[in-house]
């Protein structure tokens, strides 16, 4: 069964304190792995797509990496505005839909 597990469920950081979020997945043929950011009361906002092991993508203070079993979202020197829930999702080959994890709720305190 295709499955996505994210850890930790919640993470509290001080401003400037770098850390990583984990996304472990099992899928019958990975088509793509997606990271989204979700703010309260809003829909998921697309961040990155990773397609193959070893791939990395960066955007401002965020960097996403991918292995054959997991993905990491590294947050460097976070700011309070980075506070949100970060969602990981996979898309299996031959499928259009996304399989989501429960997300990691990140809080960054000034």
């Amino acid at each position: 069964e295709d499955q996505v597990t994210q850890s930790p469920e919640a993470l509290r950081l001080q401003e400037g304190e770098s850390s990583s979020l984990n996304c472990s997945y099992t899928v019958s043929g990975l088509r793509g792995l997606f990271w989204y950011r979700q703010d309260p009361g809003k829909g998921p906002e697309f961040l990155f797509t990773l397609y193959s092991a070893g791939e990395e993508k960066e955007k401002e203070r965020l960097k996403a990496t991918l292995t054959k079993k997991e993905s990491f979202l590294h947050i460097t020197a976070p700011k309070p505005e980075d506070s949100a829930t970060y969602l990981c999702a996979v898309q299996a080959r031959g499928q259009g839909n996304l399989i989501f994890g429960k997300g990691t709720k990140l809080s960054v305190k000034p």
Partner: protein
């Protein structure tokens, strides 16, 4: 460019009533998806349209849910009759056609409709 738009943003209905949710995808996006998040759970897939055709409806919970996509443009999701367990946030997403290589294509989400059945 306008993003994915959903109406209404909130709906509170009584058990047994009917509710219709609407989604306007990004113009030109052939793929349209409905998802749902119930409290404490992950976002789960309901169904996938390609243009006006249902590509995959394996996530639809039961026959009280009916989705349509008129002319391959906007989509509606009707729940009739609503039950308490239907409460949650319903998201719509759209994406362009995937390319022919083995790569996914990002889906853009609306802000969601929060449905409360009392």
């Amino acid at each position: 460019e306008a993003g994915v738009t959903q109406f209404p943003s909130h709906s509170v209905i009584e058990k047994g009533q009917t509710v219709t949710l609407r989604c306007d995808p990004i113009s030109g996006h052939d793929n349209l998806y409905w998802y749902r998040r119930v409290m404490g759970k992950e976002i789960k897939f309901l169904l996938h349209f390609v243009k006006e055709s249902k590509q995959d409806e394996s996530g639809m919970p039961n026959n009280r849910f009916l989705a349509e996509r008129t002319g391959g443009t906007y989509s509606t999701l009707k729940v009739q009759p609503a039950e308490l367990e239907d409460s949650g946030v319903y998201f719509c997403a759209s994406s362009q056609d995937p390319n022919t290589m083995d790569g996914g294509t990002e889906a853009f989400f609306g802000q969601g409709t929060r449905l409360t059945v009392v």
